[in-house]
C-alpha cells in the first residue's frame, strides 16, 4: 500500500490501482479493468442514488482507466453532475475528468457551460479558478463563444482576487490563441496593459503572457507596454536578491518575469524615447555584467535561472541589431559559453550564435570562433550539440572561409550520425554553390558528396550539379574528366552513375581525344555499371547511349548491338523496353542531320533560386528527424499527380531539340508540370503544347482564364501556376455527372493561412444548369504541401458559362485573391457514338431544320496537323468516325450530350482548307443553344 495521501484520499481507488499494479500480464490487467468497468456501470445504473463521495471515486477510477490507455464511453454525465457539487473536492474531480476527456457531445457541452457559468458568478475564488482552468483546458469553440466576453470583465474588474486575475489572464490567452475572432478588443485592453504595474508579481507574470501574445497581433494598440516593461525590468534587475522574497529563485530575482519582459520587448523595435532607451540599455549592460560576477550559489538552478535571463537579453540585443557595442559583448559572452563545461550552455551558445552570425555588426566577431566550432563538430559526444555546431558553421560561412568549412563538413560527413546526414549534404551542396569561385571546386565538392554520402544525396542535389555544368562552358571539360575518373572506382554510388551518364552523354566528346578516355572506353565504363543499377538509372543510361551515337558515330554499331540484345529490347520494364526500341529505330533510320538535331546538346537552364535551398528551408527543425518525416519529405518532393518519374527528365534530355527547354526538361523542376500519367498517348503533343505556356504570375482578383481553354479537350493537367501556388486538375465524367479533383500545391516554404476556396456559378448557371457540391479544404496549407479538394458536378441542361473558382489565402501578411474559370464545358458530357457512313448521313439530313443546324467558318490558331486535330476532336469527347465522309480531308464526329433533363445528339463535320480556315458544321437535336455552346468550346 502506498503512503496515505493527505486531503481526502479515496481508499477504493487506491485498492484498485494497487490491483492493477499487481497484474502479472496485460490480459490480467484488461480482465481486472473490465470487471471494474462492469462494477461502475452497474453502480451508475443502479436504483440507489450515489452519494457524492462514491460518484467522485468512480469517476476518478474511470479517469485512471482512461489514462492507462483504455477507451471510456460512459461516466461523462456523472462527471458533469459533480461540477455542481458544493464540495470542492468533488467539483475538482468533475472538472479534471471533463478537462481530460472532453466530449464534443453538444448536449453535454451545454451542461458543462452552465456549470462553468454558475461557478464564474459564484464569487468564490477557488470555484472561479476551477472553471477558468476548465475553459483553458478544453478551449473549444463553443466555450469561447460562451465566455470570450465574460472573461475580460473578470480580468479587469477592480474587486477580482489576484489568483482569479491570474487564471483569467491565462484563460483569455488560450481562447485568443484558438479563436482570435471571438476575443474582441475594447476598453479592457488598455487596462490589461496596466497590469504590468500591478503590485502582485504573480499577476504581472500571468498578464504579461497575454500582453505579449496580443502585442504580436496588434502592436500599435499595445505599444504603451514598452515603457512600462522597461521600468518594471529595470526595477527587477537593480533589486537585491532578497527584495522580491518568494519571487527570487535560487538567488535570482524573478527570472520568469524578467525573461517574459525581455520577450515582450522583442515584439517591438528599440524604444524611440531616449530616456526609455537609455534605461533599457543600462538594464542589458547590467545583465551582461552580472554574468561575469561570481555565482551566488553552486546549484545548477541558480546558474540556469541567471543564464536564462542572459540568453533572453542577448536575443533582444540581436533583435534590435543596432547597438554594435552590445552585439560584440553578446558575442564574447557566447564565445565563453562555447567552451563551458555544461553541455546545455554549449548547445544554447551554438544556437544563439547562429542568429548573431547574420548581423553585419557581429558577423566578423562570430567568425573568430570558427576553430572552437569545428572542434565541437568533431568532439561533442551528443549528436544534438554536433547538429547545432553544423548549423553554426553553415551560418558563419562566407567567401573567406567557405573552403575550410566545406572541407570540415565533408570530412565530418564520413562519420556523421545517420539522422543528420541528409541535412548536412544539403548544406554542403548549398555552400559549395553559393561560394564557388571556380566551378571545378564546386564539381569536386559535389562528387565528393556523392562518394561519401551517396545515399543521402537527394535528387535536387544531383540535378543541380548537372544544371550548373550545362550552364557553364568553362567547367564542362573538367566535369567530364572528373566524373570519368570517379566512375573508375570499382564500387561507385548509383547517383554517381547518374551524374556520370548525364555528363558524359552531353560532354564526353570533350575528353574523347585522350586515348585513355576514348569513346568506346567511356561507353564500356558506363555500361559496366548498367546491370547494377535501378530502372530509372538504366533509363537515363540508355538516353546517354543514344547521345553517344550522335557524339561518336564510331560507337554506333556497339551501342546498337547493346540496344538490340534481348535484355534491352525485350526488357520486362515497359519504359526500358520502349527506350531501347525507339532509340534503336532512331539510330538506324534517322539521317545524321536529324540525329544531330534531335540529340543536340542541352540548352542552358533558366537561372533561378536553388531548389536545394528551398528544400533545406522546408527541413527546418532538424535535430531528430524521424523516419516518418523523411518519408514525408520524399512524398512532398513527388509530383502533383505522381506522374513525373525520372523518365520525363531523361526523355527530355534525349529529345532536347527545342531552342528553349520545355518545362519537363528542367532538371530542377521539382514542381515541373509533367504530363499526367493517365493522358492518352496520342494526346502527348497536345500536352506539350499546353504546358509550354505555363500560367502567368498574376495574383489578381480579375478572372484568369488562361488555363481554361487548354482544358476543353483534356481533363487533367495544371490549371494555374505562379510563384506561390500551383493548381492541378484531374477530372472524370460519366454521363451527366462529373467529378473534379483540385490539387493546391504550396510552392513556397511558408505556410498559407486562411486558405479558402469558393466555387460560384455566375448568372443563371446555378439555378437551372449546373449543380456543384464541394468538399472544403483545411485553412492551413504548410509550405511545400499539397491539399486536395473534390467537386461533384451534375449537368442539368446544357450551358455556356463556366463556374468560377475563387481562392483566397494569406502569404506572409498579404492577402492573395485569385479567380479562375473552372474548365467545365458542355462537351465534357459528350458520350461518343459510333455509326456507319450511311447512318450518319441519314441522320445528318434528318436534322436539317434551321434551328437544328449551324455553321461557322473560323481561322485555326494552331497548325493543322492531322494527328493533333484528331487528338483534339477525341479530347472533345465525341467519336471520330473514319471512312464516313467521302472527302478524306474532312473530320466527322458524333456524340450524345448527356444532361439530366435530356440527351442531345450531335453530329459534327470539320472541313479544313489550305488557307488554314476551318468550316464547321453541326447538326443537333432540338436545341439551338447547344450550337453556340459547342462553338464556344471549339
Amino acid at each position: 500500500m502506498p503512503a496515505v495521501s493527505k486531503g481526502d484520499g479515496m481508499r477504493g481507488l487506491a485498492v484498485f490501482i494497487s490491483d492493477i499494479r499487481n497484474c502479472k500480464s496485460k490480459e490480467a490487467e484488461i480482465k481486472r479493468i473490465n470487471k471494474e468497468l462492469a462494477n461502475i456501470r452497474s453502480k451508475f445504473k443502479g436504483d440507489k442514488a450515489l452519494d457524492g463521495y462514491s460518484k467522485k471515486k468512480y469517476v476518478c477510477k474511470l479517469l485512471f482507466i482512461f489514462l492507462l490507455g483504455h477507451d471510456i464511453d460512459f461516466g461523462h454525465m456523472e462527471a458533469v453532475n459533480l461540477l455542481s457539487s458544493n464540495k470542492y473536492t468533488e467539483k475538482q474531480i468533475g472538472y479534471l475528468f471533463i478537462s481530460v476527456l472532453v466530449n464534443s457531445n453538444s448536449e453535454l457541452i451545454r451542461l458543462i457551460n452552465n456549470a462553468i457559468k454558475n461557478d464564474l458568478s459564484s464569487r468564490n475564488p477557488t470555484f472561479m479558478c476551477l472553471a477558468l482552468h476548465c475553459i483553458a483546458n478544453v478551449g473549444s469553440r463553443e466555450m469561447a463563444e460562451a465566455f470570450a466576453s465574460e472573461i475580460p470583465r473578470i480580468l479587469v474588474a477592480g474587486d477580482t482576487m489576484d489568483s482569479v486575475k491570474q487564471s483569467a489572464a491565462l484563460c483569455l490567452l488560450r481562447l485568443y490563441k484558438t479563436s482570435p475572432d471571438l476575443v474582441l478588443m475594447g476598453e479592457w485592453t488598455s487596462r490589461v496593459v496596466h497590469l504590468l504595474n500591478d503590485q502582485h508579481m504573480g499577476v504581472v507574470t500571468a498578464a504579461i503572457s497575454l500582453i505579449t501574445c496580443l502585442s504580436q497581433k496588434n502592436p500599435d494598440e499595445f505599444k504603451t507596454c514598452v515603457s512600462l516593461a522597461v521600468s518594471r525590468l529595470s526595477r527587477i534587475v537593480s533589486s537585491a536578491s532578497t527584495d522580491l522574497q518568494d519571487y527570487t529563485y535560487y538567488f535570482v530575482p524573478a527570472p520568469w518575469l524578467s525573461c517574459k519582459l525581455l520577450r515582450l520587448l522583442q515584439c517591438y523595435p528599440p524604444p524611440e524615447d531616449g530616456a526609455v532607451k537609455g534605461r533599457l540599455v543600462e538594464c542589458l549592460e547590467t545583465i551582461l555584467n552580472k554574468a561575469q560576477e561570481p555565482p551566488k550559489s553552486k546549484k545548477v538552478q541558480h546558474s540556469n535561472a541567471k543564464n536564462a535571463i542572459l540568453f533572453e537579453a542577448i536575443s533582444l540585443i540581436i533583435h534590435y541589431d543596432s547597438e554594435p557595442n552590445l552585439l560584440v559583448r553578446a558575442c564574447n559572452q557566447l564565445g565563453q559559453f562555447l567552451q563551458h563545461r555544461e553541455t546545455n550552455l554549449r548547445y544554447l551558445a551554438l544556437e544563439s550564435m547562429c542568429t548573431l552570425a547574420s548581423s553585419e555588426f557581429s558577423h566578423e566577431a562570430v567568425k573568430t570562433h570558427i576553430e572552437t566550432v569545428i572542434n565541437a563538430l568533431k568532439t561533442e559526444r551528443d549528436v544534438s550539440v554536433r547538429q547545432r555546431a553544423a548549423d553554426l558553421l553553415y551560418a558563419m560561412c562566407d567567401r573567406s572561409n567557405a573552403k575550410q568549412i566545406v572541407a570540415e563538413m565533408l570530412s565530418y560527413l564520413e562519420t556523421a550520425d545517420y539522422s543528420i546526414r541528409e541535412e548536412m549534404v544539403l548544406k554542403v551542396a548549398i555552400l559549395a554553390e553559393k561560394y564557388a569561385v571556380d566551378y571545378s571546386w564546386y564539381v569536386d565538392t559535389i562528387l565528393n558528396l556523392i562518394r561519401i554520402a551517396g545515399d543521402y544525396v537527394s535528387e535536387e542535389v544531383w540535378y543541380r550539379v548537372i544544371q550548373i555544368v550545362i550552364n557553364r562552358d568553362d567547367v564542362q571539360g573538367y566535369a567530364a574528366k572528373t566524373v570519368f575518373e570517379a566512375l573508375q572506382a570499382p564500387a561507385c554510388h548509383e547517383n554517381m552513375v547518374k551524374v556520370g551518364g548525364y555528363i558524359l552523354g552531353e560532354f564526353g566528346n570533350l575528353i574523347a581525344g585522350d586515348p585513355r578516355s576514348s569513346p568506346l572506353v567511356q561507353f564500356n565504363l558506363l555500361h559496366s555499371k548498367f546491370h547494377l543499377c535501378s530502372v530509372p538509372t538504366r533509363a537515363l543510361l540508355l538516353s546517354a547511349y543514344i547521345k553517344f551515337i550522335n557524339l561518336f558515330p564510331e560507337t554506333k554499331s556497339t551501342i546498337q548491338e547493346v540496344l538490340r540484345s534481348d535484355s534491352q529490347i525485350r526488357n520486362s520494364d515497359v519504359e526500358l523496353q520502349q527506350r531501347a526500341v525507339e532509340y534503336l529505330k532512331l539510330s538506324s533510320i534517322a539521317s545524321t542531320d536529324v540525329l544531330a538535331t534531335v540529340l543536340e546538346e542541352m540548352p542552358p537552364f533558366p537561372e533561378r533560386e536553388s531548389s536545394i535551398l528551398a528544400k533545406l528551408k522546408k527541413k527546418k527543425g532538424p535535430g531528430a528527424v524521424s523516419v516518418s518525416e523523411l518519408e514525408e519529405g520524399k512524398r512532398e518532393g513527388g509530383e502533383l499527380n505522381g506522374g513525373s518519374d525520372r523518365g520525363a527528365d531523361t526523355a527530355a534530355m534525349a529529345a532536347s531539340n527545342a531552342s528553349t527547354p520545355s518545362p519537363q526538361a528542367d532538371l530542377l523542376g521539382l514542381r515541373s508540370t509533367a504530363p499526367v500519367g493517365s493522358a492518352a498517348p496520342s494526346a502527348g503533343s497536345l500536352l506539350v503544347d499546353v504546358f509550354s505556356e505555363a500560367g502567368p504570375a498574376t495574383p489578381s482578383a480579375a478572372v484568369n482564364d488562361d488555363g481554361f481553354l487548354r482544358f476543353v479537350c483534356k481533363n487533367n493537367g495544371v490549371l494555374f501556376e505562379n510563384q506561390l501556388l500551383q493548381i492541378g486538375i484531374k477530372s472524370e465524367y460519366r454521363q451527366n455527372l462529373g467529378r473534379m479533383y483540385l490539387f493546391y500545391g504550396n510552392k513556397t516554404s511558408v505556410q498559407f493561412a486562411s486558405f479558402t476556396t469558393t466555387v460560384s456559378c455566375p448568372g443563371d448557371l446555378q439555378s437551372h444548369i449546373l449543380y456543384m457540391q464541394e468538399h472544403f479544404v483545411e485553412p492551413l496549407v504548410e509550405g511545400g504541401a499539397q491539399v486536395q479538394q473534390v467537386l461533384n458536378i451534375e449537368c442539368l441542361t446544357d450551358f455556356c458559362d463556366a463556374p468560377l473558382l475563387n481562392i483566397k489565402f494569406r502569404y506572409g501578411g498579404a492577402l492573395q485573391n485569385l479567380t479562375l474559370k473552372l474548365p467545365v464545358t458542355i462537351n465534357k458530357f459528350f458520350q461518343p457514338t459510333e455509326m456507319a457512313s450511311h447512318d450518319f448521313f441519314q441522320r445528318w439530313k434528318q436534322l436539317s431544320q434551321p434551328q437544328q443546324e449551324a455553321q461557322k467558318i473560323f481561322k485555326a490558331n494552331h497548325s493543322m496537323d492531322t494527328e493533333v486535330l484528331k487528338a483534339k476532336l477525341l479530347g472533345l469527347g465525341t467519336a471520330l468516325l473514319d471512312n464516313v465522309d467521302p472527302n478524306p480531308e474532312n473530320y466527322v464526329c458524333a456524340g450524345v450530350i448527356q444532361t439530366k433533363n435530356q440527351q442531345v445528339g450531335c453530329l459534327l463535320r470539320l472541313e479544313p482548307n489550305a488557307q488554314a480556315q476551318v468550316l464547321s458544321h453541326t447538326h443537333t437535336h432540338t436545341h439551338t443553344h447547344t450550337h453556340t455552346n459547342l462553338y464556344s468550346c471549339l
Binding site: 502506498p2 493527505k6 489514462l67 482552468h133 478544453v138 491565462l170 484563460c171 520568469w256 520577450r263 544554447l348
Partner: protein, 154 residues
C-alpha cells in the same frame, strides 16, 4: 508557450500527461511513443534539449522518472528546466520526499498541483509559497487515518 508535459518511467510507462492545447487522441499516442523512445535512447550526461518537429523538447530525469516538456520556438529552454524543477519541488513539498509511487497512487493530486502552477501552457504562479498555500487550501477537508480506513475498499 508549452505544448505538453509528460512524465514517464525508465521502462517507458507513462505516469502523467498534460496537454496544453487540444490534441487528438491518436496524435497523443504517437507523440507519447516518439517522446519515450527518443528520450530514453539518450545517453547519460547528454544535453537536456532536443529539436522535434517544430518544437523544442526539454527533459530531465529525477530518480526513476523522466520529466519531458515541449516548448514552442520562442520559449527559453533553461527556464523550462527550472519549471520542471519547480514542479518537482512542489510535489516534494506536498508528498514529502515524493517518489514515483506517490504519483501513481495520487495521480489526481499531481494534476491539481500542476494546475496551480501552470495554466494553458504558461506559468501561472512562480512563488512556491503561494502555490503551496493554495494547494493546502484546496485540501480543506482534511481527514484522519481513521476516517480513511473506514471508507469502503472497493
Amino acid at each position: 508557450g508549452m505544448r505538453f508535459l509528460l512524465l514517464f518511467s525508465r521502462q517507458g510507462r507513462l505516469r502523467l500527461q498534460k496537454w496544453f492545447t487540444p490534441t487528438p487522441e491518436r496524435e497523443k499516442k504517437k507523440i507519447i511513443r516518439d517522446m519515450t523512445t527518443m528520450v530514453l535512447a539518450r545517453k547519460p550526461r547528454s544535453c537536456n534539449f532536443l529539436h522535434w518537429r517544430d518544437l523544442k523538447i526539454v527533459y530531465k530525469r529525477y530518480a526513476s522518472l523522466y520529466f519531458c516538456l515541449a516548448l514552442e520556438d520562442q520559449d527559453n529552454e533553461l527556464l523550462a528546466l527550472e519549471i520542471l524543477h519547480r514542479y518537482v519541488e512542489l510535489l516534494d513539498k506536498y508528498f514529502g520526499n515524493v517518489c514515483e509511487l506517490d504519483i501513481i497512487f495520487n495521480f489526481e493530486k499531481a494534476y491539481f498541483i500542476l494546475d496551480e502552477f501552470l495554466m494553458g501552457g504558461e506559468i501561472q504562479e512562480t512563488s512556491k509559497q503561494i502555490v503551496n498555500r493554495s494547494i493546502e487550501a484546496s485540501d480543506m477537508l482534511q481527514e484522519t487515518m481513521e476516517e480513511y480506513m473506514s471508507k469502503p475498499a472497493f
